[in-house]
Structure formats: C-alpha cells, structure tokens
Amino acid sequence: MLASMFRKVASFECRYQMGSPVFLVMAVLFFLLAFGNVVSSNVQIAAIGNVNVNSPDAIVQVHVVMSIIALFIATAFLANPAIRDFEHRSAELLFATQLTKPAYLLGRFSGGYLAALLAFSTVSIGMVMGTQMPALDPARINDFQLSHYVYTYAVFVLPNLFFSGALAFALATMSRSLMWTYVGIVVFVLLQSMTQSLLDQPEWRQVAAWLDPFGSAAYTETVRYWTAFERNTQLAPLNGLLLQNRLLWLAVSSLLLMVSYVSFQLQLNRGSGREQQLAMPKARPPEQVHLESRAHGEPQVWPQFFAQLRFEVKSAILSTPFLIVLILAVISTWFAFLNLDQFFGTPVYPLTRVMANIMQGTFTLSLLIVVIYYGAEMVWRDRQYSFQEIIDVTPAPNWVFVGAKTTALLLVVFLLLLAGVITAVIAQLSQNYYTLELKLYVTRYLLDYGRLFYFAAILSIFIQNMVRNKFLGMGFMVIYVVVMLFAMRSLGFEDPLYRFGTRADVAYSDMNGWGHFAAIAIWYAVYWGSACILMYIATYLLWQRGTLQLLELRARGAMQRFGLLAQISAVLALLTFIGSGIYIFYNTRILNTYITAEDITALRVRYEQRFIDKADVAQPRIAAISTQVDLYPDTLSYQVHGRYRLENRSEAAIDRVYIGFHPIAEVSTLALEDASLSSRDDEFNYFEFTLNQALEPGESLQLQFHSGRRQEGFRHARNNPSTLGVSALLDNGTFVFNNEAFPYIGFNKTLIIDDPYTRRSHGLPELNRYADLEDESAYGNSYLRQDSDWIEFDTTVSTRADQIAIAPGYLEREWETEGRRYFHYRMDAPMQNLFAYLSARYERVHTRWNEIDIEVFYHADHEYNVGKMLQAVQQSLAYYSEHFGPYQYRQMRIIEFPVVAGKFAVAFPNTVPWSEGIGFIADVESPTDVDYVFYVGAHEVAHQWWGHQVSSANVQGQTLLIETLAQYSALMVMEEAYGPHLMRRFLKYELDQYLSNRGKESEEELPLYRVENQPYIHYRKGSLAMYALKDYLGAERINQALRAFATQYAYQSDPYPTANDLLAELKAVAETEEETQLIEDLFERIVLWDLEAIDATAQLRGDGRYDVSITVRAEKLESNGIGHETTLDLYMPIDLGVFTANPDDQYFSDRQVISLQKEIVEGGQSTFHFTTDRQPRFAGIDPYNKLIDRNAEDNLVPVRLIQ
C-alpha cells in the first residue's frame, strides 16, 4: 500500500517535472555545455589542462562542475514539489486525501530527484556524442569506457544531486517559500565559494577538501600531483580524503532530508488566529463622518518622485535578501583583504589599486544578484502584493514610478558598492595604511567597475517592463549575463559595441594612472549610457500601468505620452549613441585593425607557413647595434633610427638576406649596403634583399633602418599592452622592447604557435621546437636568438623633458634640446642582443659597492622596498663575485615599470626592469614570510652571470644554464641573509608548484638537463634539485664547479655551452658513486622519492636519556615523460630528524632540533634507533623536504612516549 502509493507519487512527480519547460531548457543547456566542452576549445567548463577530452579525469571534472551548476536546477526540481501545493493553494485538497506523509514526501523527493538526474544525464550524452565528432583531434580521445561514467555517477553525480536536492527540499519545506529557498541557496553558494577560496593555502587544503559538499576539492587534492598519464588512464581511488568527504556529505544530505521530513506537516497551520489579537473597535456612527475637502491645486510631482524613491529604496535595503547579500559581500571582501597574498604566501601593502581589484572579484556576483533580483522586485512588487491597482489610480504620472524605481535600483547598486569601499578603507586603516586614494575608489570602483551594474540595472528594469512575468524577465537577465558578458567573447564575438554594457579593456597602474585609457572608458560609458537613456525612455513610454497589456496596446498609449521633453531627450540620446558608436567604430575598425583572438592565431599560422623555410638558411649575424630612439609618451609613439653591422659567421657565402620587423611596427626606410630589395611582404613587414655581391664568410655589411610604432586611437580589445604582448606606450612608464621596431634576420621563432592542439587543428606539422641536446649542429646558435651572438651596443634615447629614459649601457652624456631630454648610453663589453628602453618620471636612490654603482629608479609612491632592493643587489653582487667570478659591469640598475606592461622582472645587461605589480609593494616586514623582493632581486642579479656572461646553446636543456643556475644563486644569497628555515618555506612552495604543474604538462615532462623552456622544470624543479645537491655535496664544491664553468664558458659563442658541459663540471666535484648517482637522478632522469614516517616512539632510560625509534618507508621512483612510474632501487643517505617541536611551526628554530643526520636508507620499511638527551616530540625522514618527495606532508610523525 505504502510502496505503491510512493511509486505513484514519485512517478507522477517525475513526469510532472519532465513536462516543465525548466526540464527541457536544462537538458538542452547541459547537453550543449558538455558537448561544447569536448568539441570546442572556446567552451571550458573545467580546467582539464592537456589531458584527453574524455579521460577519466576530464569526465569526473566536467561532471563535478556541472553537478555544482545543477544545484540551481535541483532547487527548481526539488523545492517546487515541497511547496507547490501551498503556492497553488491545492494543499487542502491534497491533504484531505488518504495520502500518508512518507509516501507524499519521499515520493515527491524521489520523483524530483529522478527528474533532476534525467536532465543531468544529458551531460554524459553530450560528452559521449562530442567525442564522436570527426573534427576532433584523435590523439586527444580515449576509447569509450562505461566504467568511467559509472564511477563518476556513483561517486559524484548521485551524491551531489542528492545533497543539492536535500538542501533545497529542506529549505523549501521549512520556509514554504520559493524566494527564501533561493535566498538560502545563494547564501550557501556564497559561503561555499568563500570558504573554498579562503582555504586555498596548502596548509588548509585538507580542511577545504572535507568542507566541499561536492567533493571537488577532495578530488583535486587526491589527484593534485597526478601526471597526464595517470589522469588519462586512472580513476581516483575511493579512499582517504575522497571517501571521508563522500561519506560525510552523504550523512549531511540524509540529515537534511530527515530534517525536512520531521518539519513537514501534512496540514495547514497558517491562517486565522491573528484577528483575535486586534479587537474590533466600535464603528463611529456615520453622522460623525465628514470628509476633508480637497486642499490642493495642480500638484507638484517632484515630491511624489522622492516619496516613491524613498519607498522603493526602503523596501529594498530593509529587505532580508539585500542585507544577506550585503553582509556576505562585505565579509568575503574583508577576508580577501586580510589575505593579500601574491607570491610564496607573502602579502602586499593594501594599495587602493589592489583593494579595488579584490573587490571586483568578491562583489560581482552580489551585484548581479541585486540587479536581477531587485530589478524584478521593483517592477513587479506592487503586482506581487496585489497593490498595483491602488497605486496605479493615483494621479502620479508614469515617470514618477519609472524614475523612482530606476533611481532606487541604481542607488541600491551604489550603496552596495559604497559598502565595499567602506570595508576596504577600514581594512586599510586597520593595517595602519593611510594612503587612501579616495579619488581612485571613485573612478576605478564606483564609476568604472560600477558602470556595468548601473547599466545592467536599467536593462533589468527595461526587460522586466517588457515581459509579462518576472521570472521570464529574470531569465532574460541571466541569459544576458551568461551570453553577453561571458560566452560571446570566448566564441569570437569580441566587439563591445554589440555586447551591452561592456567596453574595450583599459588598464590602470599606479605609475601611469588612467593615462590615455580614461578616454576609452569614457567613450564606452557615453555609448552605453546613452543606450540606457533610450531604454529608460522606452520604459517610461511603455510603462505597465493598470491591467497587464500586450506590448502593442501599450505602444499605442505610448505615443500619447511621448511629450516634448521625452522627444528631445530621446533624440539627443540617440544622436549621442550613434555619434559615440561611430567614434568607437572609427577607432576600433578604421584606425586599428579589428582582430580577434582567432585572427591572431591565424596570423601566426600564416607567418609560419610563409616564412618557415627561411629558418635554416644561412644568414649573417648582428654584430653591432647603434641606434637613436625617440620616445613620445604624449602621442604614444616612438621612432627608431638604427644601424646594424651584419657579419657572415657561417662557412658559406650569402647572397640573400631576409629581414623582418614585428607586424605591428611601421617601417619607413630600410637599406642594406650593396644590396637591392627583391621582395617585400607588408603584412608581416618582411623584406628580402639580394646582395649585389655574395657576402663571404667573415665579411660585414651595414643595415640602416628607420622605423617606429604609434598607437592610434584604441582597439576593441587587448589595449593592455601585456595582453597583446607588445611594448607599453604610456604617458608615464613607457617600456619598449627590442622586438618590435628593431629588425631581426631570418625567421622569428617567437611567432610560432607551440600548443600542439592548436597546431594540429590549423594543419601545421608537428613541432620539434628544440634540437636534441646532442645535436651539435645547433651548438652555434644562442638560446636567445639565432641572428645574434655577443654584440656591441651604443644608443641615444630621447624623451619628454620631465622624464628619465634608460637603456642598457653606461650613461655617456645627458643633454636637453628643444624641450626634449637626451641620454647617450654605451656598453663597453660584449652583450646579448637583448635590450629595452624605459621612460618615466622616476625617483632615484643610489649606493655603491666595491666601485659598482647600484641604483633603483622607482615611482615616488613605491619606496617601501627600495632599500631592500639595493641590499639584495649588493649582497648578490658580493656572493656571486666571490663564488662565481667577477661582475662584468660597473653599474647595476633596477627600474620600475607599470603593472600594465606585465607582472615580471627581467634581466637586461646591467639593467633590470621590474614591474610595480611585484615586489615594489610587497609587505615583507614579517620575519616569517618569504622575502620574495630579496629573492627576485638576487635572481635577476644572478642573470648577469647566468645569461649575460654564460650563454647557452639553442638545444634542449638551455634554460638549465640560465634559470636553474639563477635560482640556485638566489637561494644561496637568501640562505645567507635569512637562514635555512625560510628556505624550507620557500622550497615547499617550489615543490608544490613542481608537482602540480607536471600534471598539467601538455607534451612531455623532460629531465632537467633536457628541459625545453618549461618553467615548472627549470625554475621549480631546478631549485629543488640544486638545493638537494648542495645539501649532499656542500655549497663549497658546487660553487667551485660553477666558478669553473663560468670561467671556461664566459662569452663563448660557437659552440655555446650545453647542459652536458655543466653536468661535467658538477660530476667533476662528486667524490663518491652515490654523489654521481644523485646528480644523475636529479638532472638526467625524472626521479621522485616517496618518503614517509610511519611511527616514532621514545622510551625514558634509567640515565634520563631517551631511546628513540623511527619507522619509515622509503621508495625511489622513476617517471617517464607522461608520468608512468617504475620503482628504482633505493640506497642512499637521507636525513633523519628528531625535534622538540614541529619543524612546520612558524617559529621553529635550531634550538628545537635534537638530532638531524643522514643515515643510509634502503627501499621499503625500515626502523632507525637514536638515543637523545631531551624528550623528543616529533621525528621523521627528510623532515626539511630536501628531496623531491611525492608527498611532502607525511614525512613527520609525533613521537609516542612508551612507559
């Protein structure tokens, strides 16, 4: 009886839900998303990196992400059955039947759940069908395996939908209101994303994994260090964190369901009862009634407007949903402020620019909710409460309502934004930061960021007034947000001219302020602002007053209301809209070429196809460069007059020379001595010269050119120079690279597309980017560029009179003519063909060390770490000169550049441009934080040796000689300055970065000595390998090897040194076979250790000392390039440590080390015994994580005391 009733209710519910439009819409949407994710690189649901599109990892990730999105859908399917009968007032009918509570409630739940599940299953169908598409790269597809889907449903989809459903069901049964259920869901989502982003630090990840109801964090944690091979072939084992998480949330879900069951009452308990409280008064006899006579003439409407405005604002901001959204936005912002991490867990100062950025992250969701929800609320409130007939018959004109509601929504948005500013200011003050820059809050946050939401607010009211149902209107708004703001751009529809409310990108920096970007922002604001005025007028004309009417009926009435003022405003707004649209169009389509991301790829493809055959043709090399560069910050342009001396260093005579510039440059003249231009390609600024007389080996030629670049107007996208990868032309902070208007010879490899999938999809051949380490034919080319070796350099640069212009070399002369300032720089030693020009209004600090000038040029407000930079340079110069060889220049300069040009520091000869976005604003006061200012400084100074003295051959392993050695050098200077404990913190970040990034490898992980410019290998693994080697061999021997290496290979070009030359030097200082083995393990193979402390005990002896035993398990693994691992024999000394405190503690110090020594450890489990004087608390193997450990978290255990 019960079972059959349950079945009936469930199947009715399921069929009922499947018949609803929501079901269809959701099924189609989910299908398209999953399908698109497989077939198009533009649709990215989950960051699956470069594993196969239907690998187990991709299947799990897509399904998990979709199951989170499905939360809102599950709410529709499961909140509805819980409250439908109350809303439709059919409850009385239903409750009078014989239906029992379990059958009713559980039947409805199961039916709704089943419907949600059926709708969700289109995700899998979409994925499976996507993989059948012929256009797909077959190399990226696994064979279909049912078990992967079964696993994903069992472990993630079923429990996640169960949780979402139970949550929605519980909220709905308790609140009996769809609105409150959605409010509850939104609160849950905000809380959830808040906790997850707060717990992103490595030490909190386990907690985060537990707290994520969808198992996403637990899954990520389980496969964090998995390689592409593992991700492509294996399912995450259901144990440990993942199992705990799944069980925990299954339990929570069941509890939620139980709560709804208990709180649900199968009868009506609302209604009468209140009347009694208000006793009815006696009516006054009618003869006393007299009516006030009308006392007003023609009424004034402004007071009515303000009254209505006050009423609207009050109902919005005093409503609970608004307060909840406000509080959550403020709290999440506050926490984000307290966590201003940038690198290695070290915070930055709370600059207003930084604060405004953070708020854009935390407020967007809240603002969109407010705009969509309150837009609907304000337009429909009167109707919703059936009060509109009373309001609508008052003599107040339409504009009072339209105006008041629009203004009220704008005000609500503004108040929310203002709350952010107040929070930010309080956060700044609480950190004793008093440079508030209130004007910047106004321009960047309240105006520029807020504009989108002001526009969206007007759109929201406009849409709500057009439709006949507020949910329909909210649906349109959601579509607007998803399609216009997000989807269109990634599908290649980039132009902001047709994406309402959006604008071309602009870039703000402390150094440059808004600069010329202000005009861009203003033009788009005018454009969309006038569109909003038009929409506002349309809303006014078509205002729904009285009974809901079809649009055409309202349109008839609209013409009556279209008074003179409205007409004038409409015409003006229309003219402004068209005018500003034309102006923007002129800038983005006529002054600049309109190119999308796809066009840029196509351009690079064409370049490669057209010119790749020039890559291996013998060409002369650039031997000397002499230039005159004029920077014009006012007009965003620069001009170059240059002269190259080209030398034939090959063994063959050359009769043709190929010269190219960046496509963005403008080439005015180009003249090659004794040669004639035989062809030119204007799209790519590519020129072919035929020499009148072949250039014999050893002979030289002069090349003269006049070129430049000017930024005309603005583009529809990628105005930020770092996005387009071009030089930054700015009012204050120009940063011009030598790769635009300075010609290259032959072929420019940096334009090649290296992503294998993009290559395949554009029909480009497989790329073998790097010559084999053993390929001696490539030893004659530098890792930087093939057309140059070491060059002579001389330049004159001019700029505005109030700015300083800097280029590599020593300042020979400085003068002013015709209101411009000139600087002549010359380098007296050979240098790499790598230089840049910077110009800004700089402050300058200066110090000297051993006859060497050290300078920092910086933005006036950014003096925080300037002293530290000087000190880092000084200490680095001291250490490197002592250990690696002399510094080749008499001067070292650090120059700040705007964050607009990027967030990096880069080493040019005696010159280090350094972004204001890193380091300059870092707060490195805390002694327990990693001082990355010092680290970056030391790293860049080290490049003066590794890069600018020793170059490297253009073969595999090239960056080992440059980046890895710079990492090692910086580590040594840091260790000298800060001691080994901070090094451990630093190296833990490096280890985490290395292990996570190898899982995202697109092609093949290579051993260090064959690294192919892969940052996670040459920086991250490089640090770990060098530091481990230093630990085993000692710094002295390593430095001895590096000094020998530097001495032998400084300024050597043909052949350039390779990784093998470095390894030979390192192996030369190895004294034992184990040491040589270690060098091979670290550099020549991909070796990982898996070290684990299992147990540690201590027993007090009669003499007051302790017998300590530590049981450990150790394993050494070798991985191939795609992460397939094999076990190797392990026999090597490894640190065993006994401590009185946990070395992971922030304030851990040497005094807490009882013993730390290397013991020979073999593979498998083994036990070690020590005798200690003090009582041990913690013990473990490789406690400082010196070896590359697959799991660095299990190396320590607390020591058990045995009686």
């Binding site: 209140r274 009347e275 409280q277 208000l278 009815m280 008064p281 006696k282 009516a283 006054r284 006899p285 009618p286 009634v289 009516l291 006030e292 006579s293 009308r294 006392a295 007003h296 009424p299 004034q300 007071p303 009515q304 009254a307 209505q308 009423f311 109902s315 005093l318 409130r381 409460y385 059936s386 009060f387 007939e389 009373i390 309001i391 609508d392 018959v393 008052t394 003599p395 107040a396 004109p397 009072v400 007053r545 009285g546 009974t547 009417q549 079809l550 009926l553 008839r556 009435g557 009556q560």
Partner: protein, 299 residues
C-alpha cells in the same frame, strides 16, 4: 455625472468582456450587479483608468476619461476587488504614501488628512500596526480609507463586502451610504442584498452587456404578480425546470423552494410571493442565458 458611451473590450484570448456598454451614472450610490465573469470588474477597471477599452467614450463631468486619465485620477477613489499589502508597512505609512502620490505634498495637511481618515474608518488606534496583521474587515476599511484620500468625486468600489462578517458589512454600508450622498459612487457586487440596501440606481450586467438598468424600486414594481413560489422535492427539480421558467432555487429547512417567473399563475400549487430585488436579478440572469444553467444562491 459619469457617462459611459458604447465601450467595448475584447481580450487577446477572444473573450468579449465589454460589449457596447452605455450607462449614465448620476450622483448617489449606483449598484452594478452581475454573475462572476459578467464583465463588472473589466468595467470597473476601465472606469478607474486601469485599462483602455477598444472603443467607446467615457466622460466624467468635463473630463474625457480615456484621454485625460490623470485628470480623472485626481478625482478618483478606487477600492479594488482584491488587494494585498506590503509586509512591514503600517496603515499610517501606507496612507501617507498614497496621499503623497495623490498630491498632498504638505506634511501637516497630509497628516491631518490621514488621521481623519483613520478616525473615520476606526483604524486610528491600529495605525502603527503592520497592515499584514490586519483582519479582513480592517483591511477592507483601510481600503476605503485610501480610496477616500483627497475627497474624490468618483468613488468606485469593487466587491467590497466579500469575506466580511455581517457586522463588518453593516458598518461598511453605513460608511458607503454616507459618501454616496454627495458623490458618484459605483458599487460592483454579486450580492443582491448590498444593492438593495444601498443603491438608488442599479444596472445588471451579463456577458459584457447591460441587461437591465433602473431604480431598484421601479424594477421590482415591474415584476409584481409575476413571481411564484413552491416547495418541491429535490428529485422533481429537473421536471419543474422543463415545465416552468425557474429563476431561483433555495434550500430552505432541507426542502427545495423554487421561484418561477410567469405572467399568469402557473398550475400546480404555486403561491404568489412578494418581489425581491433578487427575483429581478435572477430573472434577468435567466432570461439572458442562452444555455440554461443551474443557479443556486444560498443565503
């Protein structure tokens, strides 16, 4: 004087809600009777400027209602058939707000006005309480209070007594009767008694048309000697309906009592009864129904 001239309205679903309705409504209480769906509310809403007819004209004094909605609204008090309230808003605040929208900009004047209305409707002592906590009767009195803001010359009340208990209804009638002395008051209802009690003129609306119009007394007088009643067994009802023009049936003490319209005394033991307004109403309804449907009015 409110003059309605041939207004028609057809909704987008094809329903003809108003079909060439013409009426002249003088000062005083005017009753508009009709079954559900007869188009009463459509007419009320049209008069209240809440919707536009497809054709026809309405004028109130010098005001062309359809063209000069705002001018009419300044003279209009409207109590909709069914209205709700905002949460957390008190009667005082709400009346103040509506008074503001009606153009009473001066705070002191507005306060006096609102207080007076609250007094009249006996809500003064509850003025600070949230409207959502009001009982049905109090809410209805609030409705009339808001309709009376600004001394309107045209007052339209749509089904005002639905859901009120007899005492409340009585009180409400007193209030309306008082207003009706000097203004045009249109009372739309399907309760015949309301009209009988209050109105000096009335109209009966059926299927979008005015089926009958006049003074209640005259209308009743015209039917004297035409109404006959008989108590019959329930089972025989269908038979009677075939034989006679049954205009209404009541259950009375468990027996079925029917009223029949007939010029001559019908055969079979009918007795003549006095004419009530109800008989006028039901006979009009019956006459205007193309298909015979059962009318049951339980009082």
């Amino acid at each position: 004087m409110l003059t309605i001239d041939k207004i028609s309205k057809t909704y987008s679903n094809g329903v003809k809600a108003l079909n060439e309705v013409s009426l002249s409504i003088p000062v005083g209480m005017y009753g508009l009777l009709g079954p559900n769906g007869a188009g009463k509310s459509s007419l009320m809403r049209t008069l209240a400027t809440l919707q536009q007819p497809d054709s026809g004209k309405i004028s109130f004094g010098d005001i062309n209602v359809l063209k000069q909605s705002d001018a009419l609204r300044r003279q209009l008090g409207y109590l909709p058939q069914d209205f709700g309230v905002y949460p957390r808003v008190s009667a005082d605040e709400m009346l103040n707000h509506i008074a503001m929208l009606k153009g009473f900009n001066k705070r002191s004047e507005r306060k006096a006005l609102v207080d007076d209305l609250l007094q009249q409707t006996n809500l003064y002592q509850h003025r600070k309480k949230a409207l959502s906590s009001y009982s049905g009767g109090m809410r209805q009195r609030f409705g009339i209070a808001q309709a009376l803001i600004g001394d309107p010359q045209l007052v339209i009340v749509d089904e005002p007594t639905a859901g009120l208990d007899p005492e409340e209804r009585n009180r409400f009638h007193n209030l309306l009767a008082d207003i009706g002395e000097r203004k045009v008051v249109i009372l739309s209802t399907h309760i015949v008694e309301d009209v009988a009690d209050l109105c000096s003129r009335m109209a009966i609306m059926i299927q979008g048309r005015i089926a009958l119009e006049g003074r209640p007394a005259n209308l009743m007088a015209a039917m004297i000697n035409k109404i006959w009643a008989k108590t019959v067994p329930k089972a025989a009802l269908a038979e009677y309906r075939q034989q006679f023009q049954v205009i209404s049936t009541h259950l009375f003490a468990g027996q079925m009592r029917i009223h029949v319209l007939s010029e001559d005394p019908p055969e079979g033991g009918f007795e003549r009864v006095g004419v009530g307004l109800e008989d006028v109403y039901f006979s009009t309804v019956v006459r205007n129904k193309p298909v015979h449907t059962q009318q049951t009015q339980t009082l």
